[in-house]
Amino acid sequence: MPDLLGELNIGESVLLKTFLVGIVLGLAAAAGVLYAVPVVDQVREASIVTVAPNGGNTEVFHVNIPMDRIMSGAPGRVTVPPGLKWPADEALAGIRTELFKIRNARDAVVGVAVRAAAENGGENVIDWVLHLPARGSMFVNMDVTPREGGFRIGEIRAGSQEFATMSGVMTEHWIVNEAADEDAPAGRIELQATYVGQLEPLDPVESSE
């Protein structure tokens, strides 16, 4: 095998070695950058959580109507946005689906949500799914009949990420806006979530200390 490196003069040999060192450094730098620099960095609004009087934590969200309504579809109703074609299939009769942006108590958009209402034979369903990027999602199954005062209450059935170990309840309440401003919303849907963490058994070693 010919000794190609030996045929180079000192200058060329150093040049080649510099190039090879560069390749190794390039490999290491690429790996280091991918390891150290986050590819995704979600923007977080600080959550505004208060302690509920009877235990648990409370967080209030709201939806300004109509400006936060992304989509609304139901058979035989006006759809939002204009041009949305709601499927006319008989299997979907009685299903109404709405997508919203949801805001925190500071009126900042923090997530998106779906509210679905369905009438299926004798069973009526009202469900919410709230999706807060970087925090997680929660699935709430509401009681169909409103309580005294016009609000509905529902159980948090499941959650992901931050809400995975939480249970609790959420209320929905339609509040009419009585401000006379021209740009003011017609009203808002207020969602109050009360979270209760799951009880976890104490570590016997820790509890004996």
């Binding site: 690429a30 989509m71 699935f139």
Partner: protein, 236 residues
């Protein structure tokens, strides 16, 4: 000066070799068989259009390759939801009959690690099926195989597009076997805890328009105890 140029060239070649190794690593494990594809339990199979223009509504920040649909739908431009997209679509059963409505929210995940070939999206589905009830599906999805096998070849193509037949399971968790967590909210599946797998089939992709021809599917396994008692009784 020539040594500096040599070093910089070496750095660029090294970074390129690293990127090539990431994309063409022959030792990387290929996506295995979905754990639910060999299940003996009763399953709910749902199919849906994965192309925004074929959905009822699709929205994102308005600056991505996939364009919102319909045109006047509200866009998710606010900073906390800028990396989120939402889709409402018709869910069809295995016989292509309308089975219900599905809403999917997807957000880029901070657990994305390109070094580990993970391009993770946190997603949730809300599905209402008149025959079964309502479902909540929570999952993490890995789009790295899709990017490597569809998007990258489209980028290399002079036509900025890709045509073929690609199929892959997207679900990678939170279940131990890479399955999604499914919870029944109402109807005959109320209170059931199930597992699911979402898959995608792509026939055409364009760098300018995104997915041109693609379908999605969700396979949801009902708890084994509901259907397998008679099978257990058959054991010798």
């Amino acid at each position: 000066m020539k040594y500096v140029i040599s070093l910089v060239l070496g750095l660029l070649v090294g970074a390129g070799l690293f990127a090539a190794g990431l994309l063409f690593n022959p030792f990387a494990a290929a996506g295995g068989l979905s754990p639910l594809s060999v299940s003996k339990s009763e399953v709910i199979a749902l199919n849906f259009a994965n192309v925004p223009a074929e959905s009822i509504a699709y929205t994102n920040d308005g600056e991505s390759v996939q364009q919102p649909h319909p045109e006047k739908v509200l866009q998710l431009w606010e900073a906390p939801i800028r990396t989120t997209s939402a889709m409402t679509t018709v869910m069809r059963d295995a016989r292509n009959r309308v089975a219900g409505i599905g809403v999917k929210f997807m957000s880029d995940s901070e657990t994305t690690r390109l070094l580990q070939r993970d391009m993770i999206v946190d997603s949730v589905w809300y599905i209402y099926l008149p025959e079964h009830g309502s479902l909540f599906v929570e999952q993490t999805e890995n789009y790295f195989p899709f990017v490597r096998e569809v998007v990258f070849p489209a980028w290399r193509s002079s036509a900025n597009g890709w045509r073929g037949n690609w199929r892959g399971d997207l679900s990678t968790g939170p279940g131990a076997l890479g399955t999604a967590k499914v919870i029944g909210g109402s109807g005959r599946i109320e209170g059931l805890r199930m597992e699911g797998v979402e898959a995608m089939t792509v026939q055409a992709f364009s760098l300018d328009k995104g997915l041109v021809s693609a379908e999605g599917s969700l396979l949801i396994e009902l708890p084994a105890s509901r259907v397998a008692d008679d099978e257990v009784m058959d054991l010798p």
